[in-house]
């Protein structure tokens, strides 16, 4: 059964994209996997936002934010300061 989670976690791993894969995709983004606080090995694929690339560190605490589009609210994560 689905359970509510806190939206808190740690950055497990990431990759900073450089290549332009398609005209409609801005190539500057950080693809990441966040490990949620509630359970070991419970991973969510996401983007890291709200910080410069230099600040992105594996292990850093992050919290959910929502990227609101016309179709959906997409969960992304930003550093907890």
């Amino acid at each position: 059964m689905p359970e509510r989670v806190s939206g808190l976690g740690n950055l497990y791993t990431f990759t900073a994209n450089v290549h332009r894969w398609a005209d409609e995709i801005d190539p500057q983004y950080v693809l990441a996997i966040v490990s949620l606080s509630e359970q070991d090995h419970l991973h969510i694929v996401t983007n890291i936002v709200g910080c410069s690339l230099d600040e992105v560190r594996i292990g850093m605490p992050v919290e959910v934010a929502f990227d609101l589009t016309d179709e959906a609210a997409i969960p992304v994560f930003r550093p907890v300061h």
Binding site: Y12, F14, V18
Partner: protein, 400 residues
């Protein structure tokens, strides 16, 4: 030790089509070339082939990746079969070899033709790699990866880079280590007349090439190619006494134990390769120390690191040191990807590795021949799906 039923199998023949970038020939045309060559190489005739296995079978909309259907290949070659099979959900591309050996071990077939064909270089056209990688958010390499797309995870490069970065973090692995894979394989490709990229590559070339997605630069990614590779796998008792030495199947590893998911994998410094490798070693008296040559899957340079560790050639996390010491070079303790691998010779999706292993074991690799060449391991797969095979020049009884 489990009795390894696959040990009744030999690779009796191998064939390979023209290989290149944008050859402009159909996948079926290339496949027919490779298959007929493999049958002739085994000193058989098409009417003696009673099994046909392909990987992954035709996939609508992804023909450049999938190659032709086994049905089209059967029809083109006029084969009368007692066994035909193709499917992508097994232990990576090694599933084709495993299912061919299973068909032989159970007596469903005696001579199984096994092929893998790609026309990904032509398929890309002028749109670059993204055309192969389904950058459209609506459609994917697999719907199982659809949740990566909204975040820009549109390429296998992203999936594997996530693992590489975690390995870098935990073990201090670096781009210098990836460079050892890339440069060593390019050196090997220089000795392989069918390799796509043969010109020397320097460390500077590597370090200054454009980044794709960290930590991978262009040279860390394999080279999309057009080409087909085929094998004839035979029951040892049925194989004719041919000119070419037979290569014996010693053991295959097919285990798939972790969650079948790239992102929910528990330890993202490694892959299903660990389970496939330990499964293979559980089926043989041979050990990593007995291996003379390794053809390790290299969709990306980092793939080689994962397989070196999984197969037990170095301790977990220490593949960087192993590479830095030059161990995988032709004159090292474990020559790896002696034909240049997919990073330089072209992405034949694992079957190029099988072909090169057989060439080396037969002693037919000419300028790039390494010695000794009695035992080779070949691996395929990335992420949760993996398979590997141990091949020998002598019958398995010699290794009991």
């Amino acid at each position: 030790m489990t009795t390894a039923g696959e040990r009744c199998c030999v690779i009796a023949g191998i064939g390979q089509s023209q290989i290149g970038r944008r050859i402009g020939r159909s996948a079926l045309d290339l496949t027919a070339d490779a298959c007929l060559q493999a049958i002739a190489d085994a000193e058989l005739t098409p009417d003696m082939i009673d099994g046909l296995v392909g990987w992954p079978g035709a996939i609508a909309g992804r023909e450049a990746f999938s190659g032709p259907s086994t049905m089209d290949v059967q029809d083109a070659l006029g084969l009368q079969l007692s066994w035909r099979q193709a499917g992508p959900e097994g232990p990576a591309q090694m599933g084709a070899v495993a299912i061919a050996c299973a068909a032989i071990a159970t007596g469903f077939a005696r001579h199984v033709l096994c092929y893998r064909t790609v026309t990904e270089a032509s398929g890309q056209g002028s749109h670059g790699r993204a055309a192969m990688n389904n950058s459209s958010r609506a459609q994917g390499a697999s719907a199982r990866l659809g949740h990566f797309y909204p975040y820009g995870g549109v390429s296998p490069a992203h999936l594997i880079a996530l693992y590489a970065q975690r390995h870098f973090h935990e073990f201090g692995t670096s781009r210098e280590h990836l460079a050892m894979v890339v440069l060593t394989q390019r050196e090997n490709a220089g000795l392989n007349p069918t390799a796509i990229y043969r010109d020397p590559l320097t460390r500077d070339d590597y370090m200054t090439s454009r980044m794709i997605t960290t930590p991978f630069c262009l040279y860390d990614c394999d080279v999309p190619a057009d080409g087909s590779t085929a094998l004839v796998i035979s029951n040892e008792d049925a194989a004719p006494h041919s000119t070419n030495p037979k290569v014996h199947v010693n053991a295959i590893g097919t285990a798939l134990k972790g969650r079948p998911s790239f992102d929910q994998w528990n330890d993202m410094t490694t892959w299903g390769a660990v389970d496939a490798a330990s499964h293979m070693w559980s089926r043989t008296a041979l050990t990593p120390k007995d291996v003379d040559i390794a053809q390790l899957y290299d969709g990306f340079s980092f793939s080689v690191l994962v397989w070196l560790e999984a197969l037990g050639f170095c301790p977990r996390g220490r593949s960087g040191d192993f590479l830095a010491s030059g161990s995988i070079r032709r004159d090292g303790c474990l020559p790896v990807n002696t034909g240049g691998g997919q990073l330089s010779a072209g992405r034949l999706h694992g079957f190029g590795h099988l072909y090169e292993a057989v060439m080396q074991l037969r002693g037919h690799a000419e300028k790039r021949q390494v010695t000794p060449h009695d035992v080779a391991v070949v691996s395929m797969g990335a992420g949760p799906a993996a398979g590997c095979i141990l091949l020998t020049t002598s019958a398995a009884d010699d290794y009991r």
